[in-house]
Amino acid sequence: MSNNLQDKYVEIVNLVKAYPNPFGEDIRVVDGFDLRIKQGEMIGILGHSGCGKSTVLTMVAGLNAISGGNVIVAGKEIDGAGPDRSVVFQSPCLFPWMTALGNVMLGVKRVYPHASKKERKELAEYYLNQVGLADAMHKYPREMSGGMQQRVGIARAIALKPKMLLLDEPFGRLDSLTRMELQDVIIDILNENKVTTLLVTHDVDEAIYMCDRIVTMTNGPHARVGRINEMPFERPRIRQEVLDHPEYYNIRGSLIQYLEDLEHEKEKQGQEKPPVEEETFNDQDDLPKTPKDKTEKSELVFML
């Protein structure tokens, strides 16, 4: 059981997100997203803007209703949002009327309802310390830079002791230097205690540096898993080692090439579905498979 659970700690099965258009037809933004995540693994989801990566993440977080399929975390199907799947949003989403400490405390209080106030405060301080904000605990969000605010957001997320950490383009609005700093903050935290993590990003380097596997998504609508790429780098990750790794530029090139191909396919095929590939690594010459018929797909959804 345990071994089995570890390998399939998070199961995303045939996930569908459909929005009705004005004519009562469902537009499937995400259609049949399948993924299994091992415990402690870090998965990156890479794709063009608007391809539905964030939709997948918010569905896993429980913030977005699931139209079809399941998400199973640690053997339990999810039911709405919860502190077991904490989210770091693109904008820091701190409460401006609370200090950094107050923002983290809010989550700590929720997860450790029986701890004394002092214990909770110590915990919150510990996590703020971990993200390097020991000196800024009593600052209000308006007194902090965007990077510092996002650090508080990270501290708030990990303070929940989540089963799964969901990062929704967490560094998308930061300058590149701050972005690298924060990447290291998260890498350090994950080195210390392994948390199953899903990172949504459109930064290829970031995904390569941080993730164990990178899932590229096909272009929407009907977005799904395109290709899953295993990263050959060891943990703990050290940026320079990753950059010096002989495979680094191959992987990077192949990912970018794949994403560009998707874009070209889309242009060529117009509204038709983009190519779909599965479970291949470094092998971008596969021919695109013919997309499945829509009706067939929806039947599948109902069967699940």
């Binding site: 913030l63 989403c93 409460f95 009327w97 929720r110 308006r142 929940l160």
Partner: protein, 519 residues
């Protein structure tokens, strides 16, 4: 230090003084001077222009209550309002004072009265002289017009008699079948009547001239009257003080009552038989009287400052009622679209209703709960004014609160969902704090509306306060009370401004950056 002052000014909403502080600290003097001219100089100049224009236009219109008062007259009457207030306070104090202090005051007041006596005599003499002079002037001016009038009247009267006689004579000569002569006659009578009307008109014109001369104002007389009034007022004030220090003094009365009680007690100890019963009765009565005197207060009339304080109390009561109703309902409206839909018809129906309509309704309803207005802990007029204020001022708060709660950042709600916060902690930790700036923006508008409504409500309900003051002044109708109504305009304006400023400070204190501000 400098930045502390600047920050305090900023929070207090007095950023207008910012350049002055910077100038004192010699920061870019030329720029600060420019700012001072722009933010203080120009407004002050506009205000000055307004005053000059007012002083020019006002005396050019005469009403039943005299000329429209100029700024100087208004300022004088503001002072007189204040003097009245101070004098009433002194009288009240006199009423309670006892012992040596009382003796000292009696001596002082008596001395003042003595000093005033020759003054009073002097102004009386001056007034009499001025009256005589005015009468002489008037008589002199009226006499020639009167002569003309009499002469004209006599002439017209003679003319009229002559015309009448001629017509009656003519009537005798007209034959029975002479139709043309008859119609001619009719025209002649018509002409006679027309002539009479013209003459009447002329006489009236002369009379009007005479009236104008008689009503002409005599500057000397007006001044003499004013001088007399000033002294007479003082005399009255000191006489009343003397009364309150003397026979009317509470402590004196208490002493007298105690003395008579003691006497009765002594009699009681010696009385027997039937007399004992009556003596006992007398003791009881004397004790009652003592109790009444001890709790008695000086029957002080309402002064304007006291009415201002009461109005402020009324507006705050109304404001608190409005807040207690509007904020929870607003939060519910913001949280639940269903509740919002349910409330919308009520809100849109009652929002535009005028205070003038609410007040009588509220007055009757409140009256239904309170049988004896004088014995009630809260005067029903006061309560209904406050409720009217609440009814009219709760809408901005309600709407702003609902908007603030509904417009809460979606990301913040998502965080709340991830944390699985319960209803109450979501409400108090997230919803209310994030809506607070808008709630306060609403409260600020509400307080402003309430303050405006209050004056009308007090005026209608005769609840003591600024509105009642205006109404009393209006009914009084003298030129002095006319000026006092202008004083009210400025007082109400300044207090409203201060209330608004206070609310801005509160609003700033609860606001965080990039929060939505007032709408």
């Amino acid at each position: 230090m400098k930045y502390k002052i600047l920050k305090a000014l900023d929070i207090a909403g007095l950023a207008v003084l910012d350049p002055i502080v910077r100038l004192i600290y010699r920061e870019e003097p030329s720029e600060q001077v420019r700012k001072i001219i722009l933010f203080i100089g120009i407004p002050a100049f506009t205000f000055l222009c307004f005053m000059v224009l007012w002083a020019y236009i006002a005396p050019r219109h005469t009403t039943k209550s005299g000329e429209v008062p100029t700024p100087a007259v208004v300022w004088d009457s503001a002072k007189s309002v204040w003097v009245f207030h101070e004098r009433e306070n002194i009288k009240e104090d006199d009423f309670r004072v006892s012992g040596e202090e009382r003796q000292k005051r009696i001596a002082m007041v008596s001395a003042e009265l003595e000093k005033l006596k020759p003054q009073l005599a002097k102004v009386d003499a001056l007034l009499t002289k001025a009256q005589e002079q005015a009468k002489a002037e008037t008589d002199k001016a009226v006499a020639p017009i009167m002569a003309v009038f009499e002469e004209t009247k006599a002439k017209y009267s003679a003319d009229s008699t002559a015309r009448k006689k001629a017509l009656t004579d003519l009537a005798g000569t007209i034959k029975a079948d002479d139709k043309s002569a008859r119609s001619e006659y009719l025209k002649k009578v018509e002409a006679h009547l027309a002539q009479t009307d013209v003459e009447k008109g002329n006489l009236q014109q002369i009379k009007a001239q005479m009236d104008a001369v008689m009503n002409r104002k005599h500057q000397g007389l007006i001044e003499a009257r004013l001088a007399k009034n000033r002294v007479a007022e003082k005399v009255q004030f000191y006489s009343k003080r003397l009364e309150n220090l003397g026979d009317n003094n509470q402590q004196q009365k208490v002493l007298a009552a105690k003395e008579s009680l003691d006497k009765e007690k002594e009699k009681f100890s010696q009385a027997s038989g039937r007399a004992l019963y009556f003596s006992a009765l007398k003791i009881q009565r004397a004790e009652d009287r003592l109790g009444r005197i001890e709790t008695s207060t000086y029957a002080k009339p309402w002064t304007f400052p006291a009415q201002i304080v009461r109005s402020l109390g009324c507006v705050f009561l109304g404001f608190v009622i409005a807040t207690v109703i509007a904020v929870p309902i607003g939060i519910l409206c913001g949280l639940s679209p269903v509740f919002m839909a349910a409330m919308t018809p009520l809100i849109s129906l009652f929002k535009p209703v005028s205070p003038i309509v609410w007040l009588p309704i509220v007055f009757i309803i409140v009256g239904g709960f309170i049988d004896d207005p004088e014995q009630a802990p809260v005067h029903p007029a006061f309560l209904s004014s406050a409720i009217t204020v609440a009814l009219c001022s709760l809408w901005p708060t309600l709407v702003n609160t609902a908007f603030g709660v509904a417009a809460i950042d979606k990301d913040h709600l998502n965080v709340a969902r991830v944390l699985r916060l319960g209803f109450w902690s979501r409400l108090f930790k997230i919803v209310i704090p994030s809506a607070l700036p808008l709630i306060f923006a609403g409260l600020r508008i509400s307080l402003g509306v309430g303050w405006m409504v209050l004056i009308a409500a007090e005026l209608l309900s005769s609840s003591e306060g600024i509105g009642k003051f205006v109404w009393d002044m209006f009914n009084n109708g003298s030129s002095q009370t006319f000026a006092q109504m202008f004083v009210v305009v400025f007082v109400v304006g300044i207090i409203g401004l201060m209330l608004d400023r206070t609310m801005i400070v509160f609003q700033r204190l609860v606001s965080f950056d990039d929060a939505p501000t007032a709408i």
